[in-house]
Symmetry: C2
Subunit: 329 residues, 2 copies
Amino acid sequence: MKDFQVVGIGNALVDILSHVEDAFLAENGVEKGVMTLIDTARAAQLYDRMGPAREVSGGSAANTIAGLAALGARTAYVGKVRDDQLGAIFAHDIRAQGAHFATPPAPGDHPAETGRCLVMVTPDGERSMNTYLGVSELLAPADIDPALMARAEWIYLEGYRFDGPDSQEAFARAIAACKGAGGHVSITLSDPFCVERHRDAFLAMIRADVDLLFANEHELKALYRTDDLDVALRAVRADAALCACTVGPRGAIIVSGEDRLHVPTDPVRVVDATGAGDLFAAGFLHGLTTGRDLAACARMGCIAAAEVIGHVGARPEADLRGLIAAAGL
Amino acid sequence: MKDFQVVGIGNALVDILSHVEDAFLAENGVEKGVMTLIDTARAAQLYDRMGPAREVSGGSAANTIAGLAALGARTAYVGKVRDDQLGAIFAHDIRAQGAHFATPPAPGDHPAETGRCLVMVTPDGERSMNTYLGVSELLAPADIDPALMARAEWIYLEGYRFDGPDSQEAFARAIAACKGAGGHVSITLSDPFCVERHRDAFLAMIRADVDLLFANEHELKALYRTDDLDVALRAVRADAALCACTVGPRGAIIVSGEDRLHVPTDPVRVVDATGAGDLFAAGFLHGLTTGRDLAACARMGCIAAAEVIGHVGARPEADLRGLIAAAGL
C-alpha cells in the first residue's frame, strides 16, 4: 500500500466568489461559463466592479484533493502560493481537510501574490471564472519532489497548469517519478480554451503517459476538434486507456477500450456550478482507488459533483462519505 | 436631508468561518456563544486546529452598515484595517455594498495585521467567536473625521470598540461632532462580557449622549447586573430615550419612555447565528430613518435578522428590500 492514493498538482488559488447578473458579464466583457486568464491590472479593475464577495480556497486539482480527503482518501497536493495572507488561507484549508501539502511558498516579497480566481456566479448557477494566476504559474520542476510522486498510487494533473512557463517539464518530472515507482497518471483537460491553447502538448502527454483522462464534453470535443461528442468518444479510445467524460445534467460517459458506459445522474438544483468537474474526479478516483467497478466510480463522481453544485463554493460542505453510503455505495 | 442616514464605527474584521462540533469547543477551551478576545499566538494555534474555513467580511457595526446599504440607506463606515490582503478584502466588500469607507489603513509594514474573527459554528447554529483585533483596535481619535460625523443623521457605535486604548476618546469625538450638527447617537452593547469589562463607561455614555440603545437580553441584564430581564427593562427607561432589546426567537422588546412593546418574530431555522443582532439593528435603523413607527422598525429588524441567520456568514445574501416589501412593510 502506497502512502498516498492520489497526489494532485495544480494551480493553488483562492476563489473570490460573487453573485452577478448576466448583464454584469456583458458590460465587463467576461465570457460566460469558461475560465479566462487575466493580468493584475484587469483583476484589480474587475474586482473593483464586483459586488461583495466571499473567499474560499479553490484551484481545480486542489478541490479534487479536498474532495478525496473528505471521502477519507490519503492525499497530497502540490501547488505554489506566496508567503502572504491568502497563501496562508490556502495552505490552512487544504491541510485542515487532511491533505499533505509541503510545496515551499514563494517569499513574501515576491512581486506576484498568491493567485486568485474571480468567480462570478449568475442566477442560473453557471460560473464564469477570471483567474489571476500570480505565483501559482511559477510552479517549477524543482517544486516536484520525486520521492513524493513515488509514494502515489495515482497522480492527478490539472490541465490548467499547462499555462505556465515550466509546466510541462514539471509534469514530466512528476510522471517519470510516479510511473517509475509503479504508479498511475491521470489528467483533467480543465477547460476547452486551455485545450485549444495546448492541444498538441495535451495529446502527446495523453498518448504517452496518461492512464485516465478526465474531461467534460466541451473539452473532449475541443481536444479532437469536432462538434460531435460521439466522434470525440471514439477518438479517445485510441489515445487513453480510460476516459471519464462528464456530460452535465446527463451524468457521465466512461470509455474503456471498446466499452462505453453511460451513467446518468439525479436532477439537482444548480446553485453554483464551480467545482462540479473537480468533485466528479474526486468521487471517481475514490472509487477507483478503493477497487470499485467503473459504474460505481462514476456514480460516486456524480454524487460528489451534485453536492458541490448545490451550494456556493467548490469545496465539499456536506458529509460526502455519508452521501455515498446513503446511495448504497 | 443629511448625506448619510447612518455612519457606523467599529472593529473592521474579516470573519473566518468554520463548522465545528461542540466537542471541538470543549477540547480547545472556547466559550460557546460569546466573543472572546485572543492574541496572535492563540489565533494561530486555534486556526491550525480548525477545519477548512471560508472568509467573509465581518465586524459587528460593519455588518449593520452592510445591511443598511443593502436596504438602500445612505451609509458610511469607519474602522481600521492594515494595507494587506485581508484589509483590501474588507474595504472592497463594504464599498461594493454601497457604503462610503475612507478610514486610512495602517501601513503594510505595521506589526499588527488586519483583524479577524474566528467564527466557530456548531450544529445548533450557535456561533462562538474568537477575535484577534489586530489593527482594528488602534482606531484613534484622529481617524474620526468630525465633518463626516456632522453629515450623519445617526451614528452607530459598536460596543466592542470599547476594547481599545483610545476608543472612548474616539467615540467622544464622534458624538460631539454628530450631536453638534443635530445628529443622533445609537450604540450597541455587543456582548455581555464586553459590558462587564466596560460597564461604567457604557452607562456614563448611555446616560449622557445615547438616543437609542441596542442590546440583547443577556447584554441588558449584564448592564444592570440582574438576572431578571424585567428589572433591566425597567432600569433602562431612566437611562435611554429608546432601547431595542432582542430576545432571541421571541423577537424584540422596544422600550420607549413608559411604553413597552413586544414584537414577536416568525420561527426560522438557525444555520449560523452570526450577525443576527447586527442585522436587527440594520432593519430597525432603516425603519427609523425612513419615518416608520417603532413596531414597523422592530419588524424590519426581525426580518433582516432572520435572513442572516438562515445562511452562513453575517452579511445579507438575499434581497432584503424585497423581503421587507413582501412582509407588507
